[in-house]
């Protein structure tokens, strides 16, 4: 029997089916996707990671991931057929880590590297030990007390970024310019952090980091790290944060390819991503590395041992890179195919409501639906539902993807899409409370 089963830990990204079909048609190889999920979070992860309306039925097997007997029993019918094991979401890495020792004869990351790559404090410790220039100054804090603030002020200088150690993206991430802002921000984060961990199905103990704010432009690179430690990089993506477009928030407002970086800077960005992967001892994974181009060189913001959000669509449209399949092939020990010739300009944009509260009206969708560059627009919230900013555990109201080989048309459509929406929100003390 051949190796034809791809195991997805906890959940599968909806784009996976089309990505696999493309690969199957190109190569004649056929694969069966199978989800293996921890029983304890099966329902919540399906809800959170959009598994209830997948375009294709997928075999789901479940097990108690804390029981070797349960995991081995669940895997037994598939063990001889498994081609690769992948975790496509940040909130599935804990379960990937638990599965690693059950696949000793396949390429897999080390268990500890997955800890290091998901806990921001550990990540910074390792990055700093590998190369101090990779990361800004930081400190872990356990409360908003005067003592904690004094320790922060002794270690880093304002302005500072406050962020949970174990949450990805911009959840509960805030900027503080002075002592008073730091105190109120820490109080808020410590009030909300458990909710954030619960919402995103994170199993770690909540912790908070305060680090020096880096001034610069944000980019990301997804890097395929082979089982032998060969690093192969995708082209950089230019990231515009919510903060840059006027929100008091640091979510990734827009992700765009091409990045506009020179060949020299692309090389530097990819080298920095590679150093970050080495620092964490990653292997047999795709690493999503967020970077900041500062006046003092390239710095690492975050790293996740999985493909970046929207990156499959972005890379496929702009370069013809089948990112989801590359991730799987790389984990199986094969060489990913990474074309770099630009086919189209592509952007994904998250549109948040300008205020938090109960959404009463969201207008402008029909304008966006008419755009020539439109790939998709998803509406995640409807009138009557509560909306919140990213830093307060909220999601965007709309997600848009635009792509066009005609740069003029692309930029025209981007301008329309960014200005098309208007909202009416009934203000509430806290939308999610």
């Amino acid at each position: 029997m051949g190796k034809d089963v791809i195991l997805f830990v906890n959940a599968v990204r909806p784009s996976t089916f089309a990505a696999l079909t493309t690969f199957e048609e190109e190569t004649g190889r056929m694969f069966e996707p199978v989800i293996i999920v921890d029983k304890k979070i099966q329902h919540s992860i399906a809800e959170r990671n959009g598994q209830k309306n997948l375009s294709r039925p997928v075999k789901v097997i479940s097990a108690d991931f804390n029981s070797a007997a349960s995991v081995k029993k669940a895997l037994a019918p598939y063990m001889d057929r498994v081609y690769a094991v992948t975790a496509q979401f940040e909130n599935c890495i804990t379960e990937l880590q638990k599965l690693v020792p059950y696949f000793p004869y396949m390429p897999m990351p080390t268990e500890s590297s997955l800890d290091w790559a998901t806990e921001k404090k550990l990540m910074r410790q390792m990055l700093e030990a590998h190369s101090p220039s990779l990361v800004p100054g930081y400190l872990e804090v356990r409360d908003a007390s005067a003592d904690s603030i004094a320790k922060v002020e002794a270690s880093v200088t304002y302005p500072v970024i406050v962020k949970p150690s174990g949450l990805e993206g911009s959840l509960l991430v805030s900027l503080a310019h002075n002592r008073e802002e730091l105190r109120t921000t820490l109080e808020h984060v410590f009030e909300e952090i458990q909710l954030g961990y619960d919402t995103w199905i994170k199993r770690q103990t909540p912790a908070v980091l305060v680090e020096e704010f880096m001034v610069g432009d944000m980019y990301s690179v997804d890097t395929y790290v082979s089982p032998q430690g060969v690093h192969r990089h995708t082209p950089p993506v230019k990231v515009t944060t919510g903060h840059q477009v006027g929100f008091d928030d640091f979510f990734g407002y827009a992700q765009m390819t091409p990045s506009g970086l020179s060949a020299n800077e692309i090389t530097k960005a990819q080298q920095t991503a590679e150093e970050a992967c080495k620092a964490l001892g990653l292997r047999a994974v795709t690493a999503h590395v967020e970077l900041m181009k500062t006046a003092h060189g390239w710095k690492v913001i975050e790293l996740g041992p999985r493909i970046g959000g929207y990156r499959h669509d972005t890379y496929m449209l702009s370069y013809g890179i089948n990112h989801i399949v590359n991730d799987i092939r790389n984990r199986a020990g094969e060489i990913p195919h990474i074309p770099t010739e630009l086919k189209a300009h592509t952007v994904t944009i998250k549109i948040y409501a300008p205020e938090e509260g109960i959404l009463e009206a969201a207008n402008g969708l029909e304008h966006v639906q008419r755009l020539k560059s439109l790939v998709f627009v998803h509406q995640l919230f409807y009138p009557g539902e509560a909306v919140a900013f990213a830093k307060n555990n909220g999601d965007p109201v709309f997600e848009i993807c635009l792509s066009n080989s005609d740069a003029t048309q692309f930029w025209r459509d981007v301008h329309v899409a960014e200005n098309a929406f208007s909202f009416r929100v009934h203000l509430a003390e806290h939308a999610l409370a």
Binding site: K72, P101, P104, Y105, M108, T110, S112, A129, G229
Partner: protein, 438 residues
């Protein structure tokens, strides 16, 4: 061929904590095979170093790096200094496994076991659960216990059949291993074991919280086999070694009284034993290591007693003198993705290890007969590990080996005659050990 072998820049071999004299010889052979000079480095945990819990490289044949293994940042910075040239890494002793586990995630691009497999293989309770889950026929029924309460005793008696073996989960070398045949013996042994276990764990740096396992006693003969497992799980087995326990010789304790290369088993039984050992290694997901597997040959087939992700003690001598197999060299070959070169065919000699433990508790006055024993034709080496003034304890009470002798001779009769003489020569004189009372 593995990329590690082909890449001429890979020239560093790391050994964790414990140095053994066979390592530089094996590394030199590997160097000749690969056609490039190789450098050995002892990577030693700072705490183990400070407490003297490591085998030093007294002749300084390898470089030495001391680092705090509990600080991931310190390890990362240390590993960065040699990772570009790293060819292989090895943890050769049972006690180095927890340290090896801490280093593993920092060296992801060399061939090595998973972190969890090292944990599973060295925790007797987890090992039995995983091997039993893989094939229930391979292990006896077992209970893991943390106290000697009435509820614990009741649980044992209602789930297991006497006689039973009581042993700690996190200690090696048959320390605190006892057999009980009655409920009264069980209660007394549990009481004594839990009274002594904290002290023995502290002395021997036992792992995890002190706990015991109680398992059904297996009637049979004890053997061991060392395996090589490559990165895909393919295994190569060496010849079986017969282990005569003290219990089987009518003495107190379950320590290895004598290890013998002459097993007198038929080929089918040997193959079955080697296959069972490989099954156990696969049950624990072991790879890219040497595994030492202890087995019992019972009336109902081969059973697993213990398994360690490292070479067995004295095996370098036993396999080399009896079969011409360089065990350490084979282990290094597997670590770089190559096949072991010699698995031993017809024996070139008969070899054995004769161990001496204390039979009674007391203070050692003298260990006599060593000089006479060294004159025997078959005796290659004889080491006394304790001397006058040291406390002698039976193994069942936490005592360790007092003396071990290596014997080998092409003539089996000569070997057996010399072994009998050696046993007569070596005598341990003790006087009563009066414990201070508070």
């Amino acid at each position: 061929m593995s990329t590690l072998v082909k890449d001429g820049s890979k020239n560093i071999a790391i050994f964790i904590n414990d140095f053994y004299p066979e390592l530089p010889i094996a590394l030199e052979k590997l160097s000749k095979k690969l056609g490039r000079p190789l450098k050995g480095i002892m990577l030693i945990d700072k705490t183990a170093y400070g407490q003297g819990r490591y085998h030093p490289d007294t002749e300084h044949l390898f470089d030495e790096i001391v680092c705090d293994f509990t600080d991931p940042g310190a390890l990362r910075a240390t590993v960065k200094t040699f990772e570009q040239n790293l060819l292989l890494i090895d943890g050769n002793s049972e006690r180095s496994q927890p340290y090896f586990k801490l280093v593993l995630p920092h060296v992801p691009y060399v061939l090595a076991p998973t972190e969890s497999s090292l944990e599973w293989a060295t925790h007797k309770g987890q090992m039995r659960a995983l091997v039993g889950g893989y094939n229930p026929e391979l292990v006896p029924r077992v209970r893991v216990i943390r106290d000697d309460s009435e509820a614990t005793v009741s649980d044992i008696l209602s789930n297991l059949e006497l006689p039973l073996i009581v042993k700690p989960t996190g200690l090696a070398a048959s320390i605190l291993v006892n057999k009980v045949s009655t409920e009264a013996e069980l209660r007394e042994t549990l009481k004594q074991s839990f009274a002594a276990i904290h002290e023995v764990y502290a002395r021997d740096t036992g792992r995890w919280e002190p706990e015991m396992i109680v398992e059904e006693f297996m009637e049979g003969e004890m053997y061991s086999v060392d395996l090589y497992l490559n990165q895909t799980g393919y295994s190569w087995a060496l010849p079986l070694i017969r282990a005569k326990t003290a219990h089987s010789m009518g003495l107190e304790g379950f320590y290895e009284y004598q290890l013998e290369t002459d097993v007198t088993l038929d080929e089918t039984t040997i193959k079955a034993g080697q296959a069972v050992a490989a099954e156990a290694a696969h049950a624990l997901g072991l790879r890219s290591c040497t595994a030492h597997v202890e087995l019992y040959l019972t009336a109902t087939g081969w059973k697993i007693i213990e398994l360690g992700p490292r070479p067995g003690g004295w095996r370098q001598f036993l396999y080399e003198s009896a079969y011409g197999v360089d065990h350490a060299y084979n282990g290094l070959l597997v670590k770089v993705g190559l096949e072991p070169e010699d698995l031993g065919g017809e024996p070139i000699a008969y070899s054995l290890i004769a161990n001496t433990y204390a039979q009674d508790e007391g203070i050692i006055e003298a260990i006599d007969g060593i000089e006479e024993a060294l004159q025997l034709l078959s005796v290659i080496d004889l080491q006394a590990h304790y001397g006058p003034g040291d406390i002698a304890l039976p193994s069942g009470k936490g005592g360790k080996i007092l003396a071990d002798a290596k014997l080998s001779h092409p003539d089996k009769d000569q070997l057996l005659a010399d072994t009998a003489k050696l046993r007569k020569h070596i005598t341990v004189h003790t006087k009563p050990h009066v414990k201070k009372t508070k």
